[in-house]
Subunit: 136 residues, 2 copies
């Protein structure tokens, strides 16, 4: 699998509000997957979750994660990233979830009463598929 940085066309792809699935590691080391909003900035991935989410406790214990982003028009075009979460911080004023909500829905996040947390995933490797062939 190629190392980062990703090429410009992959950057362009990741910059879109694609459906995505993030994988984290449960305490026993088994994988856990769930769809997620994300944003792409300077080669890193922003994700945000309620403070009560299982995957947050998983990431605090083991920061390794993977994320696959799917083209909404055709999921046969996709990019996957493998790396580690390098920062976990409270999203106290909901700035980051609003950023994601605006990116995906065009408006700020609806629910204002739950504590939320932001994590930045720094990818080390990536792989992808486009036009019926490996992207790299």
């Amino acid at each position: 699998m190629p190392r980062v940085p990703v090429p410009p066309d992959v950057t362009e792809f990741l910059s879109r509000p694609n459906p995505a699935v993030i994988a984290t590691l449960r305490p026993d080391g088994s994988p856990h997957t769930v769809p997620t909003w994300y944003d792409w900035e300077d080669g890193r991935v922003l994700v945000n979750m309620e403070a009560s989410r299982l995957r947050l406790s998983f990431l605090r214990k083991d920061p390794r994660a993977a994320l696959t982003a799917l083209d909404e028009q055709s999921w046969y075009r996709h990019v996957s990233l493998i790396g580690s979460v390098v920062s976990i911080k409270d999203d106290t004023d909901l700035t980051d979830i609003d950023r994601l909500a605006v990116r995906y829905t065009g408006k700020p996040f609806g629910r204002r009463d739950a504590k939320r947390v932001t994590a930045w995933l720094e990818p080390e490797r990536w792989h992808g598929w486009s036009d019926a062939a490996p992207w790299p």
Copy 2:
């Protein structure tokens, strides 16, 4: 996370040809994700891959895996499964990849010259989201 079996409406959902992402474990224990075709039969998940695929070597080393299936109409409806691969067999006559290709594309698989392998994932737990709330 609830244990299997999944309820009837989740069975109905998983029986559709949904976009899906499978997570496996790399030799160092970090997660690896990639989109995949799958089929659902009697509470187990069929996946199929070229014999050369990285994730096949990962599954042979550690059978633990997770799979998230997304509603093609709205990816805010989804089901995730966590479990282990209980069977890995050569798909010698391409029966299983044809089964998946027909399920997803309506016709047999195009490429006939690559060796392929079938794995059955037996889920132990599941979680889901539907209508803006946890599915269980």
